[in-house]
């Protein structure tokens, strides 16, 4: 896969410029929202292929973790908007001075590459559809209302506008679903509220709450509930498209170039660069530094890299991860010269070819750089406290927990402090004093993360269905 990326520049056919090859019709690019019914029909460099997918994957992963963390819809929406702003900006037609075409092209490309990667099993398809539908919903809700109207008018959602004759025939029933707080308000709103008719099976989530008028197998949907139809249509179409793709994929003769990338992408969604939610403070600090500075020092790379390796990151994924994480990375020569060797070395693929284990707590305590934060920040308690709060407040750590942790730090019982943080942030599963389970305390960052992942998996185990 690395080789594919390296030779990417040669793959640009006849040196055609990217923008020139954008010959695809105006349909998908004229709106910000897309149902992705037009595949990209232009030449793509392997690099673009990969980057667009990876950037989109970040967002989908964040959406998934929002669901796992039980974030409210507003929070999820906010997080997603922020992430999109960073990795996958998509501006409305009214935005000035922005290359809308290239934004939309990236959006489309990423979507279609991930389809290839995630059509391969039912589980992956289900998760992908769920995450994509959420992303679509966020964008739909935040879309400019005029542009949204234009988008809706350009598509056929199999809905039938309810004509005035029919509307009047069911006036008594339909008025019930018109917007308004009182009967009079609803009666007034009825006249101006358009209604749409769809097969009830397309909008089960409105039917079950009796939010629509039902007649002869059709649901009469007031315009304000229209979004439900769109989301359902989006979901249904994507579902069908993924299934079709999965049937077609054995025909794709792309053994050497694309298949390895697709394999990795699919893994990225299943395991991949894991969510830092499960990491102990030392690794969270390194992760945050890397995210903020787009760089960390040698020992940070070593400690964090080994940690991720033991967590299950494959060599290919590791290279993608680090390349993406470094400023100006993305296949630049600098990255290849300076870091690629080191990463491969730590995986036992270069030099002494030793498969190095990840550093344990004892080693991190004595490390001068990128070591145990409880120890390194012992003498600046304010910094430690603010690091703890900013890192873990989303996971249940509060101001009241700090004194207890700081006492342990002062006693130089760093592992006790770390264990206590684990208990607090996993209070749904472990009680105080239980540590990682059976009173075991933290001796290794990987042990911390593995246990955390295990607990989350247990709690998400689907219940057996009983006939």
């Amino acid at each position: 896969m690395y080789q594919a990326a390296k030779h990417s520049s040669k793959l640009q056919k006849n040196g055609l410029d990217d923008d020139l090859s954008l010959v695809e019709g105006s349909t998908s690019a004229s709106h910000r929202l897309s149902l992705y019914d037009q595949p990209p029909l232009y030449d793509i460099t392997v690099e673009d292929f990969e980057t667009s997918a990876l950037d989109r994957l970040r967002i989908l992963a964040e959406i998934e973790s929002s669901a796992a963390r039980n974030r409210s819809w507003e929070e999820t929406k906010q997080v997603t908007i922020t992430q999109c702003g960073k990795y996958l900006p998509l501006n409305s037609n009214s935005a000035l001075g922005i290359d809308l075409q290239s934004e939309r092209r990236k959006d489309q490309l990423g979507h279609f590459v991930l389809r290839l990667a995630f059509c391969r099993s039912e589980e992956l398809r289900r998760r992908f559809v769920k995450a994509e539908t959420t992303l679509f919903r966020v964008r739909y809700e935040t879309d400019d209302s005029n542009e949204r109207r234009a988008f809706l008018d350009s598509k056929d959602f199999n809905w039938i506008s309810v004509g005035s004759e029919e509307k009047n025939k069911y006036q008594a029933q339909l008025t019930h679903f018109a917007p308004g707080k009182s009967d009079t308000e609803r009666e007034n709103a009825f006249k101006s509220e358009p209604f749409y008719k769809v097969k009830w099976t397309t909008i089960p989530d409105l039917v079950d709450k009796r939010k629509v008028f039902m007649k002869g197998g059709f649901a009469y949907v007031p315009a304000r509930e229209q979004a439900s139809i769109i989301y359902a249509a989006f979901e249904e179409r994507l579902d069908a498209a993924l299934l079709a793709t999965s049937r077609a994929i054995p025909l794709v003769d792309e053994e050497t170039r694309l298949n390895p990338i697709l394999d990795n992408l699919a893994q990225g969604f299943t395991a991949g660069v894991p969510s830092d939610w499960h990491f102990p403070l030392c690794m969270r600090v390194l992760h945050q530094t890397l995210r903020r500075d787009r760089h960390i020092q040698h020992f940070g790379r070593l400690h964090y890299g080994l940690f991720l390796k033991v967590l299950g990151l494959k060599i290919d994924e590791a290279i993608i991860f680090w390349r993406k994480s470094f400023a100006g990375g993305k296949g630049s020569d600098k990255f290849d010269k300076e870091y690629r060797y080191n990463i491969r070395h730590s995986f036992g693929l270069e030099g002494g070819r030793r498969n190095y284990p990840a550093k344990n707590c004892l080693q991190l305590h004595t490390a001068h750089e990128a070591g145990c934060p409880y120890r390194q920040l012992e003498n600046s308690p304010e910094n430690l406290q603010s690091a703890l709060l900013s890192t873990y407040s989303g996971q249940g750590l509060t101001l009241d927990d700090l004194p207890e942790i700081m006492t342990q730090v002062k006693k130089k019982a760093y592992h006790v402090a770390c264990t206590r943080v684990f208990e607090i942030t996993h209070s749904r599963h472990v009680k105080k004093g239980e540590g990682l389970g059976d009173g075991e305390s933290v001796t290794h960052p990987n042990q911390y993360a593995a246990r955390s992942i295990e607990l989350e998996k247990d709690s998400q185990e689907p219940k057996m269905e009983v006939d």
Partner: protein, 415 residues
């Protein structure tokens, strides 16, 4: 003809009784036609009947799942061999259920099945006053007939399904099978939505408000307005007159617990404690008068809503929702014998549900006796065995239904 006392002694779980019934009377042919959505037995391509699960309850209560057969002929053979006390129909899977152990689990999925509903008299125990538990009489059947009425109308009118088969369960309940192609192909999620749309009463033993009918203080949605109109008369007849649901201390306390207006409750309680046994319709009228006398318009409105909810709570169909939500649920096949009563699970015409009397449904003992009697006076005309018994009208009804559930209309090339 044997006397009814003699007939009652026929054990509906005895091997010879079951064997005789399955061999001579059970309508396997019609069952096949219905489930295969077409009569072509030879058609190799059919992925309907051969992919359908049947589950048997043997006479020793052992339960055999994942049976499947290429056609009714093989099924009849096996059923006569096993002589199960009853059997259930499951979904159509993506592979033949008998091969379940050899196909990959990902290739064995419940794909299609009729939408089914189950209404059981036991869910009416908190409100019926005539019987309890497994008992049922003509009087409490009225609850079932209201339920059939309301559901049948709602499903035909609102969901647009027409192929509805109502089947008496043999003791105290009724099943509904919807075979319309669209219904047959609904996903679990869509089934769940349909059930929830039709579910208004939360089942449970404890008294108290169980109705989930409206959003906040809004009017009833159209579907429940229709239902209320349909049950207003039966409510008077059944709840106020026949069952006399509020004719006792316990009964009217339940009613009071459903009234949100505290002052009104204490006024009524004071009045009714004087005459706790006064008939329900008197109490109902007294409550209505109290509501009319309310000065505050919103209070009157709230009470009007509460009254609607009370009517719904006492008459709206009580569904066993879990049965309907998943495709892989099993439901007893029509024409099985109820092991306790010996009665046959016969189809019921929803338009004549009020006339239906569960006590008049033929028992297996009665049918076999009729068959024996007919053998002795054979007048030469060739009839199928079932045509000689009182099972005839029911099987004819079933046959008609099976004929209506045909996916591809048979091409007629002869003219």
């Amino acid at each position: 003809m044997a006397s009814s006392a003699e007939l009652d002694r026929v054990d509906p779980t005895a091997e010879d009784v079951l064997l005789n019934y399955y061999r001579r009377l059970y309508p396997f042919k019609q069952l096949f036609k219905w489930l295969n959505r077409g009569p072509e037995r030879t058609e190799k391509e059919s992925r309907l009947f051969p992919y359908r699960e049947f589950a048997f309850t043997l006479r020793n209560e052992a339960y055999l799942r994942y049976n499947s057969y290429p056609s009714d002929i093989e099924m009849k053979k096996h059923v006569c061999l096993l002589t199960p006390s009853r059997f259930e129909i499951g979904p159509v899977y993506s592979a033949q259920p008998k091969d379940k152990k050899t196909v990959r689990p990902t290739h064995f999925k419940a794909e299609k099945r009729e939408v089914v509903f189950d209404i059981d008299m036991t869910d009416y125990d908190p409100i019926r006053t005539c019987c309890s538990d497994a008992d049922i009489c003509k009087r409490c059947w009225a609850f079932i007939s209201i339920a059939v009425d309301v559901l049948d109308k709602a499903i035909r009118d609102q969901f647009g399904y027409n192929q509805l088969l109502w089947v008496y369960s043999g003791r105290r309940g009724i099943h509904l099978w919807i075979s319309d192609k669209e219904a047959f192909e609904l996903t679990d999620n869509q089934r769940k939505a349909m059930v929830e749309y039709l579910t208004v009463i939360k089942n449970g033993k404890e008294p108290g408000k169980r109705v989930n009918s409206r959003v906040g203080s809004r009017d009833l949605p159209p579907t429940l307005k229709d239902a209320i109109e349909a049950v207003r008369e039966p409510f008077d007849d059944l709840i106020l007159q026949d069952q006399d649901c509020f004719g006792s201390q316990e009964g009217f306390e339940t009613l009071l617990s459903l009234i949100p207006d505290k002052k009104l409750v204490s006024r009524l309680r004071e009045k009714w404690s004087q005459t706790p046994d006064s008939p329900s319709y008197t109490k109902w009228d007294e409550m209505k008068a109290e509501i009319k006398a309310l000065k505050d318009k919103t209070a009157r409105q709230t009470m009007r809503h509460a009254m609607e909810d009370i009517v719904l709570q006492y008459t709206y169909p009580r569904l066993d929702a879990e049965v309907s939500k998943h495709r892989n649920h099993l439901l007893k096949a029509p024409f099985c014998i109820h092991p306790k009563t010996g009665r046959i699970c016969v189809p019921v015409d929803p338009r004549r549900i009020r006339e239906f009397d569960p006590a008049k449904v033929p028992t297996v003992g009665q049918l076999l006796a009729e068959l024996n009697a007919s053998n002795s006076n054979n007048n030469g005309e060739h009839l199928e065995d079932w045509q000689k018994t009182s099972l005839k009208p029911y099987i004819e009804m079933f046959e008609q239904y099976a004929n209506s559930v045909q996916e591809k209309p048979k091409m007629d090339l002869s003219w």
